[in-house]
């Protein structure tokens, strides 16, 4: 694939609009768009307007989150909904800020049970899952073990 940061916004679509930031250049980093409560500190890994802990409607602010985490659980799904092809990994990744987030696993990782292990340190990547009807890549966030990335930490 093209490097994600070579794509301009009109060149791609997002699988879950508003869920993550697509790097806009080689020095920019991908992240999940989370929310954090200024009042009580509650943190969630997605955009949310009302704090689920203190139920304030004006204390949530957007935070960049999810660049790193630990693999909490994973399995290989051998059945897939429309737009996905089995077998493919499904996983939960535990973020340092607390929440666990549902995630797919990078295409870099072979779809084999022993390619991953609970507790592994993971990093966020943006990858295409398919092309849309106009041929544009449909991007989403995925995770891969930090070790599998040549650049290390």
């Amino acid at each position: 694939m093209d490097r994600v940061f070579d794509l301009r916004p009109n060149d791609y679509v997002m699988l879950v609009p508003g869920a993550f930031h697509v790097p806009e250049g080689p020095d920019d980093e991908a992240y999940l768009i989370g929310s954090r409560c200024r009042a009580c500190g509650a943190t969630v890994p997605h955009p949310m307007a009302v704090c689920p802990a203190c139920v304030s409607a004006d204390t949530m602010e957007q935070v960049a989150i999810g660049q790193r985490g630990r693999l909490y659980s994973f399995t290989i799904a051998n059945a897939a909904p429309v737009g996905f092809t089995a077998p493919y990994f499904q996983a939960y990744v535990e973020l340092p800020e607390g929440p666990r987030v549902f995630a797919l696993i990078s295409d870099d990782v072979p779809v084999e049970a022993d390619a991953l292990a609970d507790g592994m340190e993971m990093e966020l990547v943006i990858e295409p899952v398919r092309k849309d009807e106009q041929g544009r890549p449909v991007l989403t966030y995925k995770y891969r073990p930090v070790a599998s990335n040549g650049t290390g930490a």
């Binding site: 659980s73 399995t75 059945a79 897939a80 909904p81 939960y92």
Partner: protein, 393 residues
């Protein structure tokens, strides 16, 4: 609030019925329920209709209850279409119960129907996923896999914590497929051995094919009236609704210490019905994946943490046991036509409480029955809807 009784139930078998439309499935269940109650279509004053996937799978939005009821000869009455993912059936019964309990109506109908076989399995899987929050379904979340790895159920984690093995999960299927083999309404009627279950195709480790409920068409219906009027319509033992507890998911932040959703819902139901887990003689629970049954035992208070497999080993939850669970075969064997499931559970328990369950009749003369029907998945980590109902003879 008045005491409410179920005076009639009816079901369309779960399975693959290529030539039947949603309205055909629903009509059969409605007319069987009318016949069972000994009442006519014109006696029904209000209806609740539960369906979850008809929009995405059949193209029928908005008015599914009216469509099915028109085909069943019922028109003019208030019809409320309800949805709560896999708990739509129980939600429909709750609506019918409230109409009668409140005195707003003297006879109410609850119907659940689902048409899942539409000639495209991936489409059916997608529709199921659409019952979870869109940010999850868009990500390609597949329900069986998600169940295996979700922090609330995390099966490999439970295996480590409790020492459970895949053979423990298979026990649930062996028990439930045996029950299903005795049930003419069941989708899967072949009794399975542990070996069959463990060697069936892996769907999402540790879940094999036979541990997962499958796509199904089906329908069920129940007719309720004030308990004091029940004898007027039927000689069959009336089944009273002791409680229908419904809850929605709570956002589970990191370090969450709120009570578990199933345990909380069961607690509300026990309190409302004035019974405790020790009083439950028979139960139908939401084993969409077989291991769920083991976790649900705990959460309903049937056993301590990790003790689920022993209940099966000791025969406690078999048909002949002290507290049969999923005598119908459960979702895994009887089948899981999503919007119908909650009412299929209710129909089974009414038959069991009346002693009409034939070859699969519980041997313990059950008087207190429990259904657990749950569905949907929120970003906040809980299921979207959970119901626990208590039925009393």
């Amino acid at each position: 609030m008045r005491d409410v009784a179920i005076i009639g139930v009816g079901a369309h078998p779960a399975g693959k019925f290529e030539d039947k439309r949603l309205k055909d499935l629903g009509r059969e269940a409605v007319w069987k329920a009318l016949g069972d109650a000994g009442v006519g279509a014109a006696d029904v004053q209000v209806a609740y209709f539960g369906n979850s996937l008809g929009g995405l799978l059949t193209g029928q939005e908005g008015i599914r209850g009216q469509v099915v009821l028109q085909e069943s000869g019922l028109g003019g009455i208030p019809v409320v279409n309800v949805e709560n993912a896999c708990a739509s059936g129980a939600t429909a019964l709750r609506g019918a119960w409230l109409e009668v309990a409140s005195g707003n109506a003297d006879m109410a109908l609850a119907v659940g129907a689902e048409k899942m076989f539409v000639g495209d399995t991936a489409k059916s899987i997608s529709a199921l996923a659409a019952d979870s929050e869109i940010e999850l379904s868009q990500m390609g979340m597949q329900f069986s896999a998600a169940y295996a790895i979700h922090p609330k159920t995390n099966l490999k984690g439970k295996m480590k914590e409790y020492g459970w093995t895949p053979a423990d999960f298979a026990k649930v299927v062996v028990k439930n497929s045996h029950n299903g083999s005795l049930n003419p309404y069941a989708q899967h009627r072949k009794p399975l051995a542990e070996e069959d279950v463990l060697t069936s195709r892996m769907i999402a480790d540790p879940l094999t094919l036979y541990m997962c409920s499958s796509i199904a068409d089906g329908a069920a219906a129940a007719i309720v009236c004030p308990a004091e009027d029940a004898k007027r319509y039927t000689d069959k033992p009336p089944v009273r609704i002791g409680a229908i507890a419904l809850t929605s998911g709570q956002y589970r932040l990191a370090g969450d210490t709120k009570p578990d959703m199933v345990a909380m819902t069961a607690g509300l139901a026990y309190e409302a019905a004035g019974v405790g887990p020790e009083d439950v003689d028979i139960a139908e629970v939401h084993d969409a994946m077989a291991p769920a049954e083991l976790l649900i035992y705990e959460r309903l208070g049937f056993c301590g943490p990790g003790e689920g497999p022993r209940l099966i080993d000791d025969g406690v939850t078999t048909i002949g046991g002290r507290r049969p669970v999923n005598p119908s075969g459960g979702l895994v064997a009887r089948g899981h036509p999503v919007g119908a499931t909650g009412l299929l559970q209710v129909a089974e328990l009414v038959w069991q409480l009346r002693g009409e369950a034939g070859d699969r009749q519980a041997g313990n003369n059950p008087k207190v029955a429990l259904t657990h029907n749950q569905g949907g998945l929120l970003l906040g980590m809980d299921s979207a809807a959970c119901t626990v109902s208590i039925l009393l003879r």
